[in-house]
Every structure is written in C-alpha cells, then in structure tokens.
C-alpha cells in the first residue's frame, strides 16, 4: 500500500530507520490490528499503533469512561466521562492520525461475534480485564489462526508475551486452567499504579510493530514479567502444549456455545444469596427492615445516601464485624460485587447466616 508525500513526511523518522524504511512503513499501512479493551493497556497500545501509522485499527469496548479511569487511561479527558470508550478513543485517535482507518465495536466481545471479527484482522491485542474474556480471546485466536499480543497487570506488576505466533505457545499452554473465581482481584478492587499499564501497553505495541515489520525477536515463547517497584524485568520461557492447542481446535465447532464465565467459575454461586439493584430499590421503597454494609473505602463513588449504609472497608472487617447485627437481614455491597462476596465468605465463617450480596455492585445504582 503506497504512501502519500504527506504520509512519507509524517513517518520520516521511521523511514530513516534501515530496519523500517519505506517498505516497512507501507507494511504498517497495510496491517490490520484489533485491540480488545480500550482501558489501561488498550490506551497506550492504540496511541502508539495510531501514531506509528498502522493502517486499520479495530477497537472493541462496551464500557464507558469513568472518572476513576482517568488516572491511567490516557486517551480520555474529563469531557469523555460517561461516553463509550471505543468511540471516545476513535475520536481522540483520529485527531492524532487521520491516515488511520478505525473500525469501532462499542459492544461486548462474545463467542457469537469473535470469530467473524478476528477474521478481519491480522493481529489481535488483549487489553481486557478479566479471565473469561482472556480465555475467549485466546481460543478465538487459536481457531482463526491469529497471533495474540498479551498483556496483563496487577498493582505494580505486569506480564507481556506473544501467543499463537509461528507455532508458539498459546495462553492455555501457560495457564491451562483459570484461577478460582474471585481469587484474583481486578484493578478496580485492589488498585493499580497509573504508569504500569502505560509501560506494559507500550511493550505490547512494540511487539505488534516488530511482528508487522518482521524485525527483531518476538516475545513468543517468552513471558516478560515486570516489577515497577524494583524496576526489574524477568523473562520466563513458555513451551507450547500441543494437547492444550488441540483441545481448543477440537472444540472449534462448539465455540459459539461455550460459556466462558462458567468455565472461569463465574456463576451465581448458589451458596451466596444475591440481590439486584432494582430488587434492592423495591425493598427500600417498601421500607423493608434491612441492614446495609458498604465494604468500599470511604471515598469511593457513588455514595448513595438513601441506603444509610454502614461503611466498613473490607480490610477493616475482621476487627469490626461486631458492629454488624447478626440477627438482621444484611446486604453487603462494594463497587462491583467482588469484595462484598469475599466479605460474605469471611462473615459466614464467623457465624453470619443471613447475608445477601448486591449483584454487580453499587456502580449499577
């Protein structure tokens, strides 16, 4: 795909590089990259791929920009709060580079849309924030034969690698089974240092560019781990497991019907009672006598005054649970319903037996 004079000027610092040149820049323009998730990792990936002149970029994200995202999701501004991330990202990126074509998917990635979507692109980048989507993305890449540039973060640490590239390992070769549901908290539950997704996402963008340009050495078969507190990297070798790959390929016909939430243990745990936001609103309208516990930190938003909730942050529960009336029907909530679930599991060990989790958390209020 040839470049206009304006583009040649724009990309001159690339073209000057012997390993890129005009040919490499044309390869970038011909490339089609799909980025799943326009959050902490997706933002830097999208920004650098757009600046670099990748010709077609797909963006998948159903989520909306929230004030708490702005500490790390650098594409968004205050005026984007409440807007869909994929659309907001496209608007910002088009200002950065009008020579790039963006395909925007402001929807959830599912087993129903993944295969057709992935077929349209050359490379897939995983910037998602949960295990069930990560396994879904991996399996769809294996089935469609697309390389997957993987990144994941936790507090001050990150992991980067390339999966399913030139007969290399896949995500399932490294982690065949998902961890126990709820055992690995998300950024929204335990926090993340803002620059970390920047560092890891930039590494992912670098792997994408090297792959398109066919230069350097791919991270395929090597998991790069990063610790921001020590500023240290460690590379671990990952082997391909033919058995894991064949399991996915063998189930390819059934892919559309696989329940990845179920696979990752995310089901409505029958042991824990749950209530939806709308049901709780009805209870309050009917003045039902119920005790409500907020296990978030005191500053977390939204604060819903009509709940008259008792605020005991999760970490303070072990030393403060006597404040909770054991004889009353009790609803426990947090931002997304994970910490409250942990709290309920803890309190049940302490003899509480009438606890109800607010499904999906208070963000749905």
């Amino acid at each position: 795909m040839s470049l206009s004079d304006q583009e040649k000027n724009r990309y001159s610092r690339h073209i000057l590089l012997e390993k890129v040149g005009l040919k490499g820049q044309e390869q970038l323009k011909s490339a089609k990259v799909l980025v799943i998730g326009a959050g902490g990792l997706g933002c830097p990936v999208l920004q650098y791929l757009t600046a670099a002149g990748v010709g077609t970029i797909g963006i998948v994200d159903f989520d909306r920009v929230d004030a708490t995202n702005l500490q790390r999701q650098i594409l968004y501004t205050v005026s984007d709060i409440g807007e869909n991330k994929a659309i907001s990202a496209k608007n910002r990126l088009t200002q950065l580079n009008p020579h790039v074509a963006f395909d925007v998917y402001p929807e959830k990635l599912t087993t129903k849309n993944a295969i057709e979507l992935f077929k349209k692109f050359d490379i897939v980048v995983d910037g998602t924030d949960n295990f069930s989507t990560r396994y879904l993305v991996n399996d769809a890449c294996v089935i469609t034969g697309k390389p997957l540039v993987y990144g994941a973060i936790f507090k001050f640490e990150g992991q980067v690698t390339v999966f399913n590239y030139k007969n290399g390992p896949t995500y399932r070769c490294l982690f065949p089974d998902p961890p126990k549901a709820g055992s690995v908290p998300s950024c929204s539950d335990v926090g993340v240092i803002g620059v970390l997704p920047g560092l890891i996402g930039t590494q992912q963008a670098n792997e994408v560019l090297k792959m398109i340009l066919e230069i350097g050495e791919s991270l395929s078969g090597k998991l790069l781990t990063y610790d921001a507190l020590e500023n240290s990297f460690l590379t671990l070798n990952v082997n391909r497991s033919e058995e894991e790959v064949q399991k996915v390929l063998g189930n390819a016909d059934e892919f559309e019907n696989i329940d990845y939430d179920f696979f990752c243990g995310i089901t409505n745990d029958p042991k824990v009672n749950e209530i939806s936001v709308s049901e709780l609103k009805e209870w309050l309208d009917n003045s039902r006598d119920v005790q409500i516990i907020d296990v978030r930190e005191s500053w977390e938003q939204p604060q819903v005054e009509e709940l008259n909730a008792i605020n005991i942050p999760l970490n303070a529960i072990p030393s403060n649970f006597e404040k909770i009336d054991k004889n009353k029907e009790t609803i426990v909530f947090c931002q997304h319903g994970i910490r409250s679930l942990n709290c309920i599991e803890y309190l049940e060990q302490k003899g509480f037996d009438n606890l109800i989790n607010l499904e999906g958390g208070i963000v749905n209020w």
């Binding site: 997706g42 924030d129 973060i153 640490e157 961890p179 070798n237 082997n239």
Partner: protein, 78 residues
C-alpha cells in the same frame, strides 16, 4: 541445596516477601510446593505456576542443585 525463590503478584502477598533463599533437599517441585503451602497458608487460595531457572515446569520436575525458582500467578488486570 540452596534455592533462590522469587514470588510474584498475589504469591508475594501471601508470603509477604518477594524473594528468599531456602535450603531444600526434597527433590520434586511438588514437595517444594507442599512445603511452601505449609509455610505460607495463605498460598492455598492462590493459583500459581512454577518456573525453574526461567522455564515453567510441572510438579514432577526434579530439582537438581542450586536453582532459581519463580512462583508466578496469572494476572487479569488491563
């Protein structure tokens, strides 16, 4: 033999340290895993993979000498 054990993510939170040196003469990795689970009960709630000298191994892998062992949990954050 002397092992250098490196802990990552939630594994480091369960052990309350990022690295330690252990004397260990109980050869398969499974035994090391069990010893660490006894030493750090909180590890029981964490899924993790074990790498020896920068390569992931299964629990039957036999430790042979002074090796560097990494305990790595999966991350999902993005």
């Amino acid at each position: 033999m002397t092992l250098i054990i490196k802990y990552f993510g939630m594994v480091a939170e369960a052990s309350c340290k990022k690295e330690e040196v252990l004397e260990f003469n109980n050869l398969p990795v499974q035994n090391l895993r069990n010893d660490l689970l006894k030493k750090y009960p909180r590890l029981a709630t964490v899924d993790f993979k074990i790498a020896v000298n920068q390569s992931f191994v299964n629990d039957n892998f036999v430790l042979t000498g002074s090796e560097e062992v990494a305990l790595l949990p999966p991350f999902a954050g993005g």
